[in-house]
C-alpha cells in the first residue's frame, strides 16, 4: 500500500525500501534504499507491472543476463521516462539508470550485470506523469564446487 510523501520521508531512506517495496527480512537496509530515494525524490513507489527476467540461479556472478519490461504505454502523452536498477548485495547498489522516450516504442531494456552474491535486484520505473512503479527479483548466485 503506498504511503504518503510525508510518511515516507519521516521513515528515512533505509526503512523506505523495506516498507514501500515490501522487501523480505534479509535485505540490507541500504544504500539501495538511498539510491531509490534519490531517484524518487523521496516519493513512494507502488508495486507495478514490471517483468524482471533474471535466471533463478546464475552460473556465476560475472555476467548475468537481465531484462526488464514495464507493461505501460509509450505515447507522447504517457510513457515510462526512466528506469533505475539497483541491488542489495553488491559492494555498491547501482547498476544502471535507463532513460526512455516515446520513441522507444516499448518500455524495455536488457543488459548483463555482475552479482557479488545471492541478492535481490530491484527495479523502479518512473512515468512521465510522475508516478513510480517497482518490482524486485532474487537471484541465487551459484557457489562453485571446488574453486572451479
Amino acid at each position: 500500500m503506498p504511503l504518503t510523501r510525508r510518511q515516507t520521508l519521516a521513515l528515512g531512506a533505509g526503512v523506505l525500501v523495506a516498507t514501500v517495496v515490501d522487501l523480505p527480512a534479509w535485505a540490507t537496509p541500504s544504500e539501495a534504499g538511498a539510491e531509490i530515494a534519490k531517484f524518487t525524490g523521496g516519493k513512494g513507489a507502488e508495486p507495478g507491472p514490471i517483468t524482471i527476467d533474471l535466471p533463478e540461479i546464475a552460473e556465476n556472478g560475472n555476467t548475468v543476463p537481465l531484462s526488464i519490461v514495464v507493461d505501460h504505454p509509450m505515447t507522447a502523452e504517457r510513457y515510462v521516462s526512466d528506469i533505475l536498477v539497483v541491488s542489495d548485495g553488491n559492494p555498491r547498489p547501482g547498476f544502471a539508470t535507463f532513460h526512455l522516450t516515446p520513441m522507444s516504442g516499448r518500455a524495455e531494456a536488457a543488459t548483463r550485470v555482475r552479482l557479488n552474491t545471492t541478492q535481490n535486484v530491484i527495479v523502479v520505473a518512473k512515468t512521465s506523469d510522475g508516478k513510480f512503479l517497482t518490482a524486485q527479483k532474487q537471484v541465487k548466485v551459484t557457489i562453485g564446487g571446488c574453486g572451479g
Partner: protein, 108 residues
C-alpha cells in the same frame, strides 16, 4: 575501447514498427574494486554513459555503473516512423567517446 562496437537491428521496417536494437562494445569495465599482484587497487575504468538518437532525436540513453558486466551489452527498442540513421555513442570514464551509425529503411 578496442574493437568496433557491434550493433544489430533490422535493415528495414514498416512505418510504426517497434524494432529491437542490440548493442555490444568491447570494454573491460574495470570496477575499481580489484587489486593487482602487489595488492594495489586497479583504478575504475568503465563505460559510464550510452546514448542512442534517431535522425538527431533522443531514443534511449543510460548511465552505467561498474556492476554492468564487461563488454557491456545494451538492448532496447525504437519505434520507427521514417527512414534514417541511428547514432550510438559510448562514453568512457576518461572522457573519450566512441560512436557508430546504422541506417534503416522504413516503408509506408
Amino acid at each position: 575501447m578496442a574493437d568496433k562496437p557491434r550493433i544489430r537491428l533490422p535493415k528495414d521496417a514498416k512505418k510504426g514498427d517497434v524494432i529491437q536494437i542490440k548493442t555490444l562494445v568491447s570494454h573491460v569495465m574495470e570496477t575499481g574494486l580489484r587489486k593487482d599482484d602487489s595488492g594495489k587497487l586497479i583504478p575504475r575504468k568503465i563505460i559510464n554513459a550510452f546514448t542512442c538518437t534517431f535522425n538527431g532525436k533522443p531514443v534511449f540513453s543510460c548511465e552505467l555503473e561498474p556492476a554492468i558486466a564487461a563488454n557491456p551489452y545494451l538492448q532496447f527498442t525504437a519505434r520507427v516512423e521514417e527512414s534514417g540513421t541511428f547514432r550510438f555513442s559510448w562514453t568512457d570514464d576518461d572522457g573519450t567517446t566512441i560512436t557508430a551509425d546504422e541506417t534503416i529503411t522504413v516503408a509506408g
